[in-house]
């Protein structure tokens, strides 16, 4: 009886291995079910969802105008001190002083992509971009100024 039991055990052991090998063999012959992406060769066709949090950017329209009022809500919402808003006072044609941003400094190296600044912004001036290849050779390149040079605030944004 011992020998019968032994042979049965050996047979069930071999069977369990064969079941596993069958699954492996199935994928060996069915190449279409393989979903590996050939990055970076597929860069041109790579589609990232529109909500992907890559980095903070400030969209400008064709007249080089943005929506930022310089209220510093994003600076207060940021947990890491990633954003620094440097404001100045514009003098309007009527002679009134108006607060506007001079520079919106963004430290990409400190950013954790938590999206809190975008949520906090009352005028939707900043959004998340779908970029993700952030490596550079010099650390200073990670400190960015989000507003374009010479840009000004859009009409109607308070």
């Amino acid at each position: 009886m011992f020998i019968v039991k032994y042979i049965k055990e050996v047979w069930s052991a071999i069977k369990s291995l064969l079941i596993g090998m069958r699954r492996t063999g199935y994928y060996f012959t069915h190449h279409k079910e393989i979903i590996t992406q050939q990055y970076p060769d597929n860069r041109d066709t790579l589609n990232l969802p529109e909500r992907f949090k890559g980095e903070v950017v400030m969209p400008h329209d064709e007249k080089n105008e943005h929506r930022c009022t310089g209220c510093t809500a994003c600076e207060l919402a940021c947990p890491n001190g990633t954003i620094k808003v440097i404001t100045k006072f514009d003098i309007s044609p009527e002679g009134k002083k108006k607060k506007a941003i001079d520079k919106l400094v963004y430290h990409l190296e400190l950013c954790t992509m938590c999206n809190l600044c975008v949520i906090a912004c009352p005028s939707d001036a900043i959004v998340m971009a779908q970029t993700f290849e952030h490596s550079v050779f010099d650390r200073s390149k990670l400190t960015k100024i989000l507003n374009n040079p010479g840009s000004k605030i859009m009409d109607g944004v308070e």
Binding site: S12, G20, F52, K53, P79, C114, N115, M128
Partner: protein
């Protein structure tokens, strides 16, 4: 002469596993005392990835500190954020809208599946099987794609905010989750074919790393580790939060307490998670996804504690508030730390090769242990 296990005598071999070792899944450092090949003592040394998250949270506001907890147990970051959000809501007595509650639970369960899938692949790789790793990552990838579309990130989502969720779900969300479940159901038996039935795997897991129910209680083990020993400890059943008392699912229990039991608990938990998602995905109520909260959150003076069931066990958040905008003191009860403390007890007297199998079934995430 039979030497007593647990003491170091002359002639014992002391080896260091980690902090840079593929089987520890991070910077865990184990000092192992060996007599021949028999393990006499295992001493985990921590501190290699200590970031003082709890101290950091004291300088952050109640909205800001939630994102840090994604960096603790990064495989169940949604559930960590959920626990923190629940604790802040408890202090402020915010009623979360029904839609947000359902979305939160679906996200939690998706995270649990993704976490268990990754654990399954990584554990198989520890034991020496490389193929399951790729199979596990294929399933996990589809969940990550769903997360990426709705939350905007694959691992550290920061989707939960006090009062609900940050953004409403993506229009494709329901369809994608249903597609995923349909896809997953066809691939479900692959894990049994590839690994569970395998004779080499069975022999390496059966009777290895025994942890009795009493020991699981005294070491403070929670989650699948304790449920493998037959301990009822599912927070979703014992102290239901959100809508867990209105969905039907069973608490998975195994009684043998060895590595195979812990393995089976996790595999069966995936099926329960899928059950929960299937019940909810067609019934997401209409309405707000976020409750109206004040711009600056201030918790009243006092102490608040809330707990959630992560993929690894009970995660607790303890906040002491002095009434300001930032917490006075925060303490996180992480499941991995308590589960790791049982490793020494489990490993004593077993062989060195089995230690890796035990560590695999504990599902250790080192940043969660070390914080």
């Amino acid at each position: 002469m039979v030497e007593e296990i647990g003491t170091t005598t002359e002639g014992d071999l002391i080896i260091n596993v980690g902090p840079q070792h593929p089987a520890t899944h991070g910077v865990l450092h184990l000092v192992i005392t060996l007599n021949g090949e028999t393990v006499k003592k295992v001493e985990p040394h921590l501190g290699y990835i200590h970031r003082s998250i709890e101290k950091m949270c004291e300088s952050l506001t109640y909205r800001q500190f939630i994102y840090v907890t994604s960096r603790m147990d990064y495989l169940s970051s949604h559930i960590n954020n959920h626990g923190c959000a629940l604790c802040v809501e408890k202090g402020l007595q915010i009623e979360v809208p029904a839609r947000a509650q359902v979305i939160r639970v679906i996200m939690d369960e998706l995270t649990r599946i993704a976490s268990h899938e990754l654990w399954w692949g990584a554990m198989a790789m520890d034991i020496g099987a490389f193929t399951p790793f790729f199979h596990a990552f294929r399933e996990r990838e589809s969940i990550n794609d769903i997360m990426e579309e709705t939350c905007g990130a694959r691992l550290t989502m920061n989707y939960m905010v006090p009062g609900g969720v940050m953004i409403d779900i993506h229009p494709n969300f329901q369809k994608k989750v249903k597609d995923f479940i349909a896809f997953y159901r066809t691939k479900m038996n692959e894990s049994d074919e590839l690994l569970t039935g395998n004779i080499i795997f069975q022999n390496r897991m059966k009777g290895v790393g025994l942890l009795s129910k009493e020991d699981a209680i005294s070491f403070g083990c929670t989650g699948p580790t304790a449920r493998g020993s037959g301990l009822n400890c599912d927070i979703r059943k014992l102290y239901p939060y959100e809508i867990y008392n209105s969905v039907t699912f069973e608490e998975v229990l195994e009684t043998s307490g060895d590595s195979l039991a812990r393995y089976m608990v996790r595999l069966r938990e995936i099926k329960q998670s899928i059950n929960i998602i299937e019940q909810l995905i067609d019934n997401i109520p209409e309405g707000d996804f976020q409750a109206k909260t004040k711009a600056v959150l201030k918790l009243p003076k006092g102490e608040f504690y809330s707990r959630v069931e992560t993929a690894r066990g009970e995660f607790g958040v303890y906040i002491v508030s002095e009434g300001g905008t930032t917490p006075y003191r925060i303490k996180f009860r992480s499941p991995g730390f308590a589960n790791l403390s049982a490793l020494d007890h489990m490993a004593r007297g077993s062989k060195l090769g089995d230690l890796v199998a035990m560590m695999g079934t504990l599902d250790l995430v080192i940043p969660d242990i070390d914080r």
